[in-house]
Amino acid sequence: MTLMSVENVGFAYGSGRRVLEDVSFAVPRGANVGLVGESGSGKSTLLRLMLGLDSPQQGQILFDGAPLEARDRTFIQGYRKRVQAVFQDPYSSLNPAHRIGRIVSEPLRSLKVPGDHRKMAEEAITSVGLSADTLDRFPHQFSGGQRQRIAIARAIVARPELVLADEAVSALDLSTRVRVVDLFQEISERMTMIFVSHDMGVVAALCDQMVVLDRGRIVEAGATAEILRNPQHAYTQSLLASIPRMPEGPVTP
């Protein structure tokens, strides 16, 4: 069953050049879809449209069968309960003046979710591998990786159906990145995820399906394993060939 479907979407900022042209793909419920592209591919614009921050000028985006209406406040209010986001920079996405408890439970308050918010925040923070007393502290007391865990806790606290992650591990150090990828993998078993990234390795590790964007168009889409094994489009081929690999040699884990 399709949870989100992007249908023939086109978009341009002002009277400028089209940044998205006839983009179509479907996100099945429970799937993990990677949106891959380099700078200028249109992936960030597509993410804005999927978050309902802007409306496509051509085509439409359907969520659970209903068209996403960015200007319809009631629709967006309901949409926010079901869709949450994790952004790239955990230093700018957490309010430094608020305690972690307030940050993590913010979606519960703004979406007027009934129930014991403190308890729900505790559940969310422990499910990302941090202790419950984290909630009483401030963002500056945590490292980049821990902050990204906090951002993930905030994204999942209201139990959304879909999580949109925008370069959510790109700013992290390698050792931290591996652990946060593990966490996303764990979370993705419980919900649908769209992972926007320029990093093919991360998408390959996380997503069962992948959409490759180049200059506003989809050049290739399908099962990740299939695309990695047998990339069809010249752009995908050059992207894969450009990724630096570790030198061959004995593996010493």
Partner: protein
Amino acid sequence: MMSDLLTVRGLTLATPDKVLVEGLSFSIAPGERFGLIGESGSGKSLTSLAVTGLLAPSIRPAGSITLAGKEIIGAPEKRLVRMRGDAVATVFQEPLTALDPLMPLGRQIAGPVRRRLKRKGQEAGRVAVAREVRSLLELVRLPEPERLIRSYPHEVSGGQRQRVAIAMALACQPRLLIADEPTTALDVTTQAEIVRLITSLVEELGIALLFISHDLAVVGQVAESVMVMRDGRMIETGPAEQVLTRPEDSYTRSLVAAARRFDEALEGQP
């Protein structure tokens, strides 16, 4: 044996309340490609700033850094300025901040060219400088040099800006090129081109390279020998092939395993 171009002995960098780099020793031979690997906070960029004598005044260096036979630590600014032109030049991560946004690219490259010609007592008139700028643009494989010379930084792509930054660094004819995360801000296809360019240029010109990066695979493509740093200390050093395939230290092993995990995912083994 040839004497080393750069020798760092017992380098310690500290602010009044914190030690940032401690007891670091390594050396780079003329023409050698040396990789410095570290995550954020490892002290790798501070080490490169210390080598060029560009540390913030609040950071006190101790130990010894000799570059082309001259001591850097405690050297007067006048000598450091000359050395930065003669012996060492740096390419930084973000070419947009390294370049002046209000000056055409040709004039930005001309600056270090003119200084070098004057320093060497050569003809530094407009024609000589312009000729040199053009040959540098060719050296870094930039197309349409005539257009580029007149362009401003925002009018060209990120990869082209980094090529201009490399041209400016090479304009000094340094014996050591420091590249501090030179491809981190670039797309992966552009990164591959810049890595190839840097590697072939240092080989072609016979200059030594200090390549600093958090990306093990990129360092593996560039460097002959590597050093891994963590929290201001050296963790492991040796030939690149050995450290990246048969690491001895547990921290290096965890880094290598993490890098390999994404490689394996790309091979279809998630």
